[in-house]
């Protein structure tokens, strides 16, 4: 059996950021290796070409373990970050080291099962998607408050950023290689990878799959603290055009329009029904405050919108990006002939 991809094969790179995964890495590599062999045995037109493990200054023995696994499997690429940068930067580094036609990002702890990768690929090539997010089919943490908090946070962020895909964001994703690398290459330390991915494509789908955070269920310890959740939210907002800016501008404009209409109304009253005005002088003051307050809010909104556009440009939001999806056909045809077994 050949251990390298056929020239025409669609190649898949797997990126795994690692922070505390020594209990899971061997099992994960075993699962990836068996998936690799299974596809080769089936002569599938796609190939798991590399698995990039990014040691994000892991707090356990994951670093040496990754090196040992890389010594055993030439398709494993070990990367060690000089300090702990966080999950998103680690994922970005891994993506930037990949060269697969598709890039899968997944967690270290087997919450994301490697066998789902084929289903993600099927979804992508049959629906011409550039990104497929795996979405939990049931509660991930099996803890009502934890799952409710997660859902509510995503809804709030969706409202604030006006991004329809935000509730689907998940670290288990299949991304078209060029889109993944382009997005990763414009990400700065403060940009949110999934928001950036949306700058390059709108072809985003979701695959419902069973996922369980076994580590949380077992230990009741989450990788997310309130601080990291707020940091997540901040980066989401900072990477997006904020809805509040538009709301502020619209409110300001409304106040101006209202003050002009009110001025006309009170002028008519003043001319034709002067006796109806019981208190003199307050109308003009009220209208002037409303008009100039509205004008200030409107102008500030416009200035902030400009600033927001400039920030997005500095963050690397592209003017255009080209993509070639023609390579999906062989994988799509093969997957059509090889349906997933029914559960």
């Amino acid at each position: 059996m050949s251990d390298s991809p056929q020239p025409q094969s669609t190649t898949i790179s797997v990126v795994v950021p690692v922070y505390c995964g020594s209990d899971y890495l061997e099992a994960l590599v075993e699962a990836l290796d068996s998936l690799r062999r299974e596809w080769q045995a089936q002569e599938a037109p796609f190939f798991l070409a590399e698995a990039i493990f990014v040691d994000d200054a892991a707090i356990d023995q994951s670093g040496p373990l990754i090196d040992r696994l890389a010594g055993q499997h030439p398709w494993i690429v070990p990367l060690h970050l000089s300090r702990n940068f966080g999950q998103h930067p680690a994922t970005i580094v891994g993506i930037l080291h990949s060269s697969g036609d598709w890039v899968v990002t997944m967690d270290e702890d087997l919450q994301h099962r490697p066998e789902i990768i084929k289903r993600l690929l099927r979804k992508a090539v049959t629906e011409h998607s550039d990104i497929v997010y795996a979405k939990p089919a049931s509660a991930v943490h099996e803890a009502a408050i934890r799952d409710w908090t997660s859902r509510s946070f995503k809804r709030l962020m969706q409202w604030l950023t006006d991004n329809p895909n935000l509730p689907d964001f998940n670290s288990f994703r299949l991304i078209r290689g060029p889109v993944a690398r382009a997005a990763a290459s414009v990400c700065s330390h403060d940009t949110y990878l999934d928001i950036t991915l949306g700058w390059f494509t709108q072809n985003i789908s979701v695959l419902r799959a069973e996922m369980k955070d076994e580590r949380y269920i077992r230990t009741k310890r989450s990788g997310y603290s309130l601080k990291s959740l707020l940091s997540h939210g901040w980066r989401m907002i900072f990477s997006s055009q904020i809805k509040l800016l538009r709301i502020g501008s619209v409110l300001g404009l409304s106040a101006m329009v209202f003050s002009v209409l009110a001025a006309v109304y009170f002028l008519v009253i003043r001319i034709f029904f002067p006796l109806d005005i019981a208190v003199q002088g307050w109308t003009s003051l009220f209208l002037a405050i409303t008009f100039f307050g509205g004008l200030s809010a409107f102008m500030l909104g416009i200035a902030l919108q400009y600033l927001s556009s400039m920030i997005l440009k500095v963050h690397g939001k592209p003017t255009f990006f080209t993509i070639d999806r023609s390579g999906d056909v062989p994988a799509a045809q093969w997957l059509e002939q090889h349906p997933d077994p029914q559960p």
Partner: protein, 301 residues
């Protein structure tokens, strides 16, 4: 060509053929590490009878004892080379390998260091582990033949073939590679024509890294053995889009670009880090870009 000699290091003499971008980097690195006397000799790449006489002159200038390292870092044309062009280059290499074997027959250790091309040998391959080459154009085929010629020269001491991926870098007189072209053109407000597309993946290596690695290898003494083919890549592919992005960030000005609508060189190439030599370390792309920008800003752009 250039002959470098010194009394230390077992009386090592280095014969360098080809002083272009990579040859120049090897030469600079050798001079940094090794205080050697330098002699220049003419070497005509087009007239074989003239070359014969020039080789005789070079041999006459060599000391009678001590290790010799012959270094081929030449090349007449790039990826677009024709079969005839590569045949001419291969003939040059054959003559030099013959010369090395003749020197070895005098009973002295003769090492041969040959520059090949990962891009030529493995064009269009991703996640390449540096196995059997599958060249797709005359350039790669020529490089493969040159490696075979060296592989047959079993009378030589150490034989090393270096296969660099997409090389970029700059000297006072030469600028080579997409990275350098983009920076150079951005500085003078010129347009860069790109013969790939935004998503084309390449493995970019800085010429100075190659220079240091080959120079270190030349100065190491060792006994012969099978020919060694060394892949000199970063193991970290980068798309054209990323290169543009990194340069734009560094230059703080927009780049003027023209993409070829029918690119002839748009196939992806990448190399697995596990295929790279253990003692090789490549400069990260952002650092390499920063270095070139600084160099060009400090000198004539």
């Amino acid at each position: 060509m250039k002959l470098l000699q010194a009394k230390e290091r077992d009386g090592l003499s280095v014969l360098m053929f080809g002083l272009g971008l990579i040859g120049g980097a090897v030469d600079r690195s050798l001079q940094l590490r090794w205080r050697a006397r330098e002699q220049r000799f003419p070497y005509d790449w087009h007239d074989s009878s003239l070359r014969q006489a020039q080789r005789a002159a070079i041999r006459a200038a060599l000391p009678t004892r001590g290790r010799i390292a012959m270094v081929w870092t030449g090349g007449q044309s790039g990826f677009a080379a024709t079969e005839a062009g590569m045949a001419q280059e291969t003939a040059l290499v054959t003559e030099l390998v013959d010369m090395a074997e003749a020197l070895a027959r005098d009973g002295r250790p003769v090492d041969f260091h040959m520059l090949s091309s990962a891009g030529g040998l493995f064009e269009g391959q991703t996640h390449c582990s540096g196995g059997v080459p599958h060249p797709v154009r005359p350039y790669g085929e020529g490089k493969r033949q040159q490696e075979e010629i060296l592989a047959r020269a079993v009378g030589l001491n150490r034989r090393r073939v270096y296969r660099p991926s997409s090389v970029y870098g700059v000297t006072r007189s030469r600028r080579v590679g997409l990275v350098t072209a983009l920076i150079s053109n951005a500085m003078r407000g010129g347009t860069t024509r790109i013969f790939g597309n935004q998503n084309t993946l390449r493995d970019y290596v800085l010429v100075d890294d190659i220079g240091h690695y080959i120079a270190r290898s030349i100065l190491q003494s060792g006994s012969g053995g099978p020919i060694e083919a060394l892949l000199l890549a970063s193991g970290r592919p980068a798309s054209v889009f990323e290169v543009i992005q990194r340069i734009t960030e560094r230059m703080e000005r927009p780049l003027l670009l023209q993409f070829d609508p029918h690119p002839s060189n748009a196939q992806d190439m990448s190399f697995l880090p596990s295929a790279l030599p253990a003692d090789w370390q490549a400069t990260p792309l952002p650092s390499g870009i920063a270095g070139i920008v600084t160099f060009l800003r400090s000198g004539p752009a």
